[in-house]
């Protein structure tokens, strides 16, 4: 008899576990896993978004060929990569810098923390619109400041309608809005570093730079990883600010992958094409995640 007890107990435990998992699992399956496979299926058809009087057909890999031979897709991909490769290091290092600045004990440091994190609390649509006001051409705040500090030598620029300036402008704005997030994560990481390490090193005669380089940076390893991965994923989703401010222009210079999918699938109703682009998008994200994972692993060894 006693041997059955654990078995039935295990049974109860297992049933309880599945019961508690059920809501989350059901939702995840319906709203992530199913759409995920649906994307694969749809990418092989000529499905249109809204009803039409002709049946949907299998079209094989036609949509993939179309996406991969579409210069607009490659441009969107390039833009997204460029955005990500800029945003990730810049936002991370500024975030770390800010965290270092305000990690010290001094009067009013919580006020500065509060202010530095403030933009992150403002939703992106609103940030984009505020910046649209700042970036007005020729009569906007930023052009105004540039004009005054340069004695009329610089500008005015039409920031968002200039082929070479539009993307950097979007990057700058995104950094302003997003950097508080990295700052917070680094701040927590910094607070986990034992103070004794610094004291010991200082006794050994290490200067500030050495403290940073040999203690702070290496001990933030886990934090770097978290920041790297979350920032990359966030950067890859670039859409809102572009849609509100430039609709991908000028000349497609700010078009992003997500916007490419949105335009293809929603505005042009080409569900098949959008699904193919989504699958490619997903594979790219997966590849990047695996790369980062791999880098982190080898780094460990």
């Amino acid at each position: 008899m006693p041997s059955q007890q654990p078995a039935s107990l295990r049974n109860i435990e297992s049933r309880a576990a599945w019961g508690m998992l059920a809501p989350a699992m059901t939702l995840l399956i319906i709203f992530i896993v199913v759409p995920f496979f649906l994307a694969f299926l749809l990418s092989l058809t000529n499905e249109r978004l809204i009803p039409r009087p002709i049946p949907t057909k299998w079209t094989g890999i036609r949509n993939y060929i179309r996406v991969l031979t579409d210069p607009d897709f490659w441009q969107a991909l390039r833009n997204t990569f460029w955005f990500t490769f800029f945003i990730v290091p810049v936002q991370s290092s500024i975030g770390l810098g800010l965290a270092l600045l305000i990690n010290r004990q001094f009067k009013g440091n919580h006020i500065f923390r509060g202010i530095y994190f403030l933009p992150t609390v403002v939703p992106m649509v609103m940030v984009a619109i505020i910046w649209a006001g700042l970036l007005q051409a020729p009569e906007g705040v930023i052009n105004g400041i540039l004009r005054q500090i340069s004695f009329d030598q610089i500008g005015p620029y039409d920031w968002l309608h200039h082929e070479w300036l539009a993307m950097p402008t979007i990057m700058l704005m995104s950094t302003w809005q997003g950097v508080g997030f990295q700052m917070i994560i680094y701040l927590a990481g910094l607070q986990n570093i034992p103070k004794e390490l610094y004291e010991a090193a200082r006794i050994d005669g290490a200067n500030l730079w050495q403290l940073f380089w040999f203690i702070t940076l290496p001990l933030l390893r886990n934090t770097h990883i978290v920041v790297l991965i979350t920032t990359t994923i966030l950067a890859f989703k670039l859409f809102t600010q572009v849609e509100v401010l430039t609709q991908g222009g000028p000349l497609g210079a700010t078009n992003s992958l997500v916007r490419y999918i949105y335009v293809a699938g929603f505005q042009y109703q080409k569900v098949g094409l959008a699904a193919a682009a989504s699958v490619i998008f997903f594979l790219i994200v997966l590849a990047i995640a695996l790369c980062q994972h791999h880098l982190i692993q080898t780094d460990k060894d």
């Binding site: 576990a17 998992l21 995840l28 800010l98 989504s278």
Partner: protein, 278 residues
């Protein structure tokens, strides 16, 4: 530390703070100017930072426009975000509890799957998701903006990590007292999890307060449209009236800013960071 270093340190802090605040100052200052010609003139100079004698006409206009019922949009956003956060905390923490505490077959696989799902951006799934919710007849409703986003792999992961750190001995003690798993989860684990609950609430809350692409596709009229989409459309109207636009923007960011200043400690002090940093 010498006085000079100390001074430059503060100066640096203040300059950065100013950079962070400029756009918000301009937003507010512009929103309380009623003369559009003056606004356009001011925007090009330092006067953009100065509200002058505040006039509230733009606000009256925004709040009185029947075609753009600001309060309705705000209410929609609040309903959506609160539902997601509230239901999300329940659903995700319960799943995380099972994954962290209970023994069952297939657990490893599920944990791995949840972690893998974290990297799938919702944005890559919007088109099939749109077809799916349309089949369910959900388009243009609150629930189409809520239900798909309750279960959240990253939140599950955060809960899971946090629960793993709570000593098992607590559960065992409760078991001896005859508590079942649900009771342990409800009476012992959850009350100890305030930091991670706050973190998840803030992260998921901010994420969906920000949400734009999805509501853009699934809402049409005023009834269920959240403030982000309404604002973007207001902004898209020509000709642009900056006074009204900035008043709308100020009003739209106000609720979050108030919440932020009241609960600032929670947002900034290690709560978020310590749960995320892994």
């Amino acid at each position: 530390m010498s006085k000079i270093i100390h001074g430059t340190y503060y100066l640096l802090l203040i300059i950065i703070a100013f950079l962070m605040l400029i756009p918000l100052i301009v937003m507010f200052s512009t929103s309380v100017k009623s003369d559009e010609f003056l606004i356009l003139k001011d925007l090009g100079s330092m006067a953009a930072f100065w509200p002058g004698v505040p006039e509230w006409e733009n606000y009256q206009q925004i709040l009185g426009d029947p075609n753009m019922p600001f309060l309705r949009f705000l209410l929609n956003t609040l309903i959506i975000v609160f539902s997601i956060v509230f239901l999300g905390i329940g659903v995700n923490s319960m799943a995380a509890y099972a994954l962290s505490r209970l023994k069952f077959r297939g657990k490893g696989l599920i944990i791995a799957t949840v972690i893998a799902l974290i990297i799938i951006p919702v944005e890559s799934l919007v088109i099939p998701l749109l077809l799916l919710v349309n089949r369910l007849g959900w388009i243009d409703s609150y629930h189409v903006q809520i239900i798909p986003f309750i279960a959240h792999p990253f939140s599950i992961f955060l809960f899971y990590q946090f629960f793993n750190k709570i000593p098992k001995s607590l559960d065992d003690a409760a078991k001896v007292d005859g508590a079942d798993f649900l009771q342990i989860y409800w009476r012992i684990i959850l009350p100890m999890s305030l930091p991670v609950i706050v973190t998840v609430a803030i992260l998921q809350g901010l994420e969906f307060w920000n949400s734009f692409l999805w509501p853009l596709m699934v809402t049409r009229g005023i009834e269920y449209r959240p403030i982000s989409v309404a604002l973007a459309q207001f902004f898209g109207r020509d000709p642009k009236v900056w006074g009204d636009i900035m008043a709308f923007t100020t009003l739209a960011s106000l609720p979050l800013l108030v919440v932020y200043f009241v609960f600032q400690r929670w947002f900034i002090q290690s709560a978020i960071g310590s749960s995320i940093k892994g």
